[in-house]
């Protein structure tokens, strides 16, 4: 067990492509940290550099205080779980799990004990003599985990370990991975592109974009205090709605109507050289059906009328989608997020807004409803730099 420190770790490929740029992360002993971002953001490259499967171009990697840059993967004492599981097909489950121990020249009795112990933890005892080809996806995934835990390494590295499982199994395995990590208390670095996995698993989450760390923090912090447009749009499901807006005399003019800034927002904006034209972000859950609110709450926000295009009833909540006419919020970060979500394929006029209303809402599809949003929860971003102007962290 050990802490892992990435000190300005950079990966530059011979062709000049920059996969990771000055990544600074301090991972505490026993911490579960998630690297998350859209494909091509450098999260897997960063993981491979920690593993030793890719060279570090510049910067330093320290595990347990010792410099690791030049060490071969086998000398770093870390275990890795691959997206494809990478089980050895010619070996039985037992042999697969025993492989790292055999390489470490552990004696037979101890190998047996450790493999049996790991098999018990992972509920694989009945499958020890089977070959990987005869196992189900979930079982294979557990064997891969087993191979990682048998030799009690300093740290676990996991490269999208659940992405090959079907949705239901993924949720189930997510809890068991989390439980296992807590039980073993081993430092874990986990790569995923799924923000739900990132939010539910990690002690802390590192959001990466184009090789640059965008923000590091606990899932709740990232949700409440996104440092920029990219993090704001990436974290949270459904994602935050963005509108072009303009600031004037402590009032914010949005396509949803003009609202007065709350004291909190006004204080945050002070001292920051906020431009007149900004991008306003409101999360779906900060909208509500105005008809359901009492007067004091209502006055804490702004109301507007909108024609609901689509209404999805989830039982516990209702998701109402409507379109705001006019220009869309434009920024390179939002374009990238849209591309990652595949949204560029859909031609749109105006911007689509998602709102999460309580189940009691009387909104109907195609009907016009009075909606409300919390003006204290509005986040404002600088359209040119993407910086969150209401960031207080």
């Amino acid at each position: 067990m050990a802490e892992i420190v990435l000190d300005k770790v950079t990966k530059r490929y011979p062709d000049g492509a920059l996969a990771a740029s000055e990544v600074d992360i301090d991972i505490a002993d026993g911490e579960f940290i998630i690297l998350v971002g859209p494909s091509g953001c450098g999260k897997s490259t960063t993981l491979n550099m920690i593993a030793g499967l890719e060279d570090i171009s510049s910067g330093e990697l320290r595990i347990g205080g010792a410099r690791m840059n030049e060490k071969a993967p086998k000398d770093r004492d870390i275990a890795m779980v691959f997206q494809s599981y990478a089980l050895y097909p010619h070996m039985s489950v037992r042999e697969n799990m025993a492989f790292p121990l055999r390489l470490a020249k552990v004696d037979d009795r101890e190998v047996r004990e450790k493999v049996d112990e790991a098999a018990t933890i992972l509920d694989l005892t009945n499958h020890l003599d089977r070959k990987p080809s005869n196992l189900s996806g979930g079982q294979r995934q557990r064997v891969a985990m087993g191979r990682a835990i048998v030799r009690s390494p300093k740290a676990f590295l996991m490269d999208e370990p659940l992405s090959n499982l079907d949705a239901k199994l993924r949720v189930q395995m997510r809890t068991s991975v989390s439980k296992l990590q807590k039980q073993l208390g081993t430092t874990t670095v986990y790569v995923t592109h799924d923000q739900t996995e990132a939010m539910t698993l990690g002690d802390r989450v590192v959001v990466l974009r184009g090789g640059y760390v965008q923000q590091v923090g606990s899932p709740q912090f990232l949700y409440e205090q996104p440092a920029n447009l990219f993090v704001a749009g990436f974290i949270g499901s459904p994602s935050m709605n963005f509108f072009p807006a303009s600031l004037a005399d402590n009032r914010l003019n949005t396509p949803l109507g003009e609202v007065e800034l709350t004291d909190r927002v006004r204080r945050l904006l002070e001292g920051k050289d906020a431009p007149r034209e900004v991008i306003a972000g409101v999360r779906p859950e900060h909208f509500e059906d105005a008809g359901l609110l009492d007067e004091p709450t209502r006055s804490g926000g702004a109301t507007f009328r909108a024609k609901v295009d689509v209404l999805e009833s989830m039982g516990s909540d209702k998701y109402a989608y409507f379109t705001v006419e006019g220009e869309q919020a434009v920024s390179s970060e939002l374009e990238e997020l849209a591309a990652d979500a595949g949204a560029t394929e859909v031609p749109e006029t105006g911007s689509q807004v998602v709102t999460r209303l309580s189940a009691a809402s009387t909104a109907t599809e195609g009907g016009t409803t009075e909606l409300w949003f919390d003006r204290d929860k509005v986040e404002l971003f600088d359209p040119s730099s993407g910086v969150n102007l209401t960031y207080s962290g």
Partner: protein
């Protein structure tokens, strides 16, 4: 599934008939040779497919001449050594071709393809001169060298295809599990590549075993003459005697090692050995 995959009784019969036709077509010349080898000298030219009178005389004859026995030893020795060298070097080269990016990789692949396609007959005269100058003419190395040369491209091409099938992540996993590159190769990659290695060995062995061109051009005595070449020097007991019987017997005998070789290695070629390594 495609239509070919469905096994209705009608389809089975159709396929069986087709298979049978192909097998007969392929085997008739072989059976004809076998039949000739069992015929007595008198009935050799009678045109019967099944010999009227059976004899083992031709077989006894060839095994009594040192000419054939010596050639058989040469053939087996040269073919096995050539196969071994070509497969070992080919395995390493193919691994590099499949896995690594190195300067000149495309050139290497290009050159090996060129070697494989090069008309061997145009090389015979220069090789003859070179080998005579180097003292390699009519020796085992004198034949092993060209066989390895022509076996290697075949080995590299076949094996690199097999290596490409093995997921790279297995090797990364082995490294993470604490294996040195050599251990990763020996304990993970080699066992998985085994079917490919055996397939390649069979192909290279057959290639060298059947060669006639180099065998006849680069040998002059029993010291290194292989069976295909030796067969052409077979004569009857007297000048006027037809050696057809003995040639047929020898031809039958030299197919046996091929059959043994293939049967021996075929048991090791387990298809789909890599299934289950990754997701799926």
């Amino acid at each position: 599934m495609t239509m070919i995959g469905t096994a209705t009784p009608r389809r089975k019969v159709q396929w069986s008939l087709l298979d049978l036709a192909v097998v007969i077509y392929a085997l008739v010349p072989v059976l004809w040779i076998v039949s000739l080898s069992f015929k007595t000298k008198e009935t050799l030219n009678d045109g019967n497919f099944i010999p009227r009178s059976w004899t083992l005389q031709s077989y006894i004859d060839i095994f009594q001449t040192t000419e054939f026995l010596r050639a058989l030893v040469n053939s087996i020795g040269i073919a096995l050594i050539s196969t071994l060298i070509a497969v070992v070097i080919g395995t390493m080269a193919a691994y590099a071709v499949a896995r690594l990016e190195f300067p000149g990789k495309r050139l290497l692949i290009g050159v090996s393809l060129l070697v494989a396609m090069f008309p061997q007959v145009s090389l015979v005269s220069p090789l003859f001169e070179i080998e005579r100058a180097l003292g390699l003419f009519d020796t085992w190395p004198g034949l092993i060298l060209p066989y390895v040369t022509f076996g290697l491209p075949l080995a590299i091409y076949t094996l690199s295809a097999f290596f490409k099938e093995i997921p790279w992540e297995l090797e990364k996993a082995a490294k993470m599990d604490g294996a040195t590159p050599a251990q990763a190769f020996r304990r993970v990659i080699a066992p998985l590549a085994a079917p490919g290695v055996f397939t390649t060995a069979i192909l290279v062995f057959i290639l060298t075993w059947n060669d006639f061109l180099f065998a006849i051009s680069l040998t002059s005595t029993e010291a290194s003459r292989t069976v295909p070449a030796a067969l052409s020097f077979f004569t009857g007991a007297s000048q006027f005697e037809d050696p057809t019987g003995t040639i047929s017997a020898a031809a039958v005998v030299i197919t046996i090692p091929i059959i043994v070789f293939v049967l021996f290695f075929q048991r090791r070629i387990v298809a789909g050995l890599t299934s289950g390594a990754v997701k799926g």
